[in-house]
Amino acid sequence: MLKVVNLTKRFGGLVAVNGVDFDVEQGEVVGLLGPNGSGKSTVMNLISGALPRTLGEIDFDGQRIDGKPPHRIAKLGLSRTFQLVRLTPSLKIRDNVILPLAFGAFPVFGSEAVKRADAALEQVGLAGRGDGPVQDLNYIDQKRLELARAIVTNPKMLLLDEWMAGLNPTELRTAMDLIAGLRDSGMTILLVEHIMEAVRALCPRCIVMSAGTKIADGPTETVLADADVIEAYLGKAHV
């Protein structure tokens, strides 16, 4: 589904992502881990087209997507959420969800779009809230709306950038169930996450980055026990 080869991003003299390679198979749920500043979010931004890559190649669903603008990548069936929630407050809640439908690969607008948007809102637990303003939503509900916007087009692949950060334990439970539901429906998911409970529960496989390079890739339990990974997170004394 997704193939990343020698992906590199430099910001001036800083190498944020340095020659990263990995594949994600159809239907897989993969965790992308690493300490703060290790380049995880940059990788997500490079895949979604938010940032142009410096070097390397990204293939999605058999097509080369590096160098394509984000709206083209979105139309190919790749959706994402953002590290800090990003919504469009001048649109009411339902219209936030209709937006990607109206500009998707197969544009849907009008009553059909309303139906599908309401279904997506219901799926994430916002049933009946479509007519309200975005300002009425609390933090978890904003996250829900962002997810509804990402999944309403039924994308082939979903990028979640710390989507579960900042939730309380009950909310986290709900959030994990939601992602598990998407996984069970066959969606391919790449998620950046710091909450290990969620990573262990949802991701059979993990990729770990440190200082811009990939340091581990494999089954979650093996990767988390890896000496390099522990060192990257906790320092040498703990190995």
Binding site: H71, K75, T153
Partner: protein, 310 residues
């Protein structure tokens, strides 16, 4: 509700169309001025309202329209001149848009202001060094009332376009762009394309507004038709009414036009100072526009009603 809106719009359009019948030539002039600003403010808001790209290039396109008429007046029928003027406006808008719509916020404002000055200086240079004259005379047989009706037609087209955009998926896209371009892009919106299209449509309407009323001046020169005050007035009018709403720019243009006319005749020397004060007052007192006050009053009335029931 929708049919009610369309019906009101039709009645209003017919009412505006018969307005010149009972009054004399001075009245026609006033109506032209008012309708001109209704068109300018509405066309300005068509692009700048939802995208929040504040443009001061209004007078660049307005002047291009007027100058095209001045140059072609003796060579083509008026209708053909309007087509040429609109096409020139479109070409300039596409060129400028492609080059600048990637600029963010304040850089765009400054660029758009510079553009108006650039066009004015270019034409001044061309006229003085190539044609060796500065002014041009326009002799076209069009009555003031006819100009008013043409502007009214342009106004109806402008409002119709704004209504259509607001109800189409384009409306979702432009509002999303105004909020967060990154989100719009990741939702599949070709952000640059949408901004360029709206900027072009808005610019063509403004160019036509300038071209249609050019015959009224008889004599034009760059400092008259590229007067930056026109850009600022348009902006202030749209902001006063609320650029995000269909009727906002109209609600701002009508009272301010009459206010500025009155100021210009009563205090001709302090005109600019008072204009500046009005600008500041609007930004401070009604940041959301006049029509947003209606929402506020409604909300307050509803809250009061609920209290009364409790």
């Amino acid at each position: 509700m929708k049919t009610f809106g369309i019906l009101t719009f039709l009645v209003l359009a017919v009412g505006m169309a018969v307005l010149p019948l009972g009054i004399g030539d001075y009245g026609h002039g006033v109506l032209v001025g008012m309708m001109s600003y209704i068109v300018l403010a509405s066309a300005w808001a068509l692009f700048s309202g939802p995208t929040r790209y504040v443009s001061l290039a209004t007078v660049a396109f307005f002047g291009i329209g007027a100058y095209t008429v001045a140059v072609l007046a003796d060579h083509l029928p008026f209708g053909a001149i309007l087509v040429v003027a609109g096409s020139i406006g479109l070409c300039v808008a596409l060129l400028v848009g492609l080059a600048t719509l990637r600029l963010a916020g304040i850089y765009f404002v400054i660029f758009s202001f510079g553009l108006a000055e650039l066009v004015r200086q270019l034409i001044t240079w061309f006229e003085t060094s190539v044609n060796h004259t500065l002014g041009r005379y326009i002799f076209i047989e069009v009555s003031t009332a006819q100009i008013y009706w043409m502007l009214l037609g342009l106004g109806i087209i402008t409002l119709g376009l704004r209504w259509w955009i607001g109800n189409s998926r384009l409306g979702l896209a432009v509002n999303a762009i105004g909020d967060d371009e990154t989100v719009a892009r990741h939702a599949g919106v070709n952000v640059t394309g949408v901004k360029l299209a709206l900027f072009a449509v808005s610019s063509v309407l403004i160019t036509l507004a300038g071209a249609i009323q050019a015959p009224r001046w008889t004599y034009v020169e760059p400092s008259i038709v590229f007067n930056p005050t026109i850009s600022f007035m348009t902006l202030v009018m749209a902001l006063l009414g609320g650029p995000g709403r269909l009727w906002g720019p109209v609600a701002g243009a009508v009272p301010l036009y009459f206010l500025f006319e009155w100021i210009a005749t009563r205090f001709p020397d302090q005109n600019a100072i008072i204009l500046g004060l009005v600008f500041v007052a609007i930004v401070f007192l009604v940041p959301g526009g006049l029509l947003s006050l209606i929402d506020k009053w409604r909300a307050r009335a509803r809250a009061a009603g609920e209290q009364a029931h409790a």
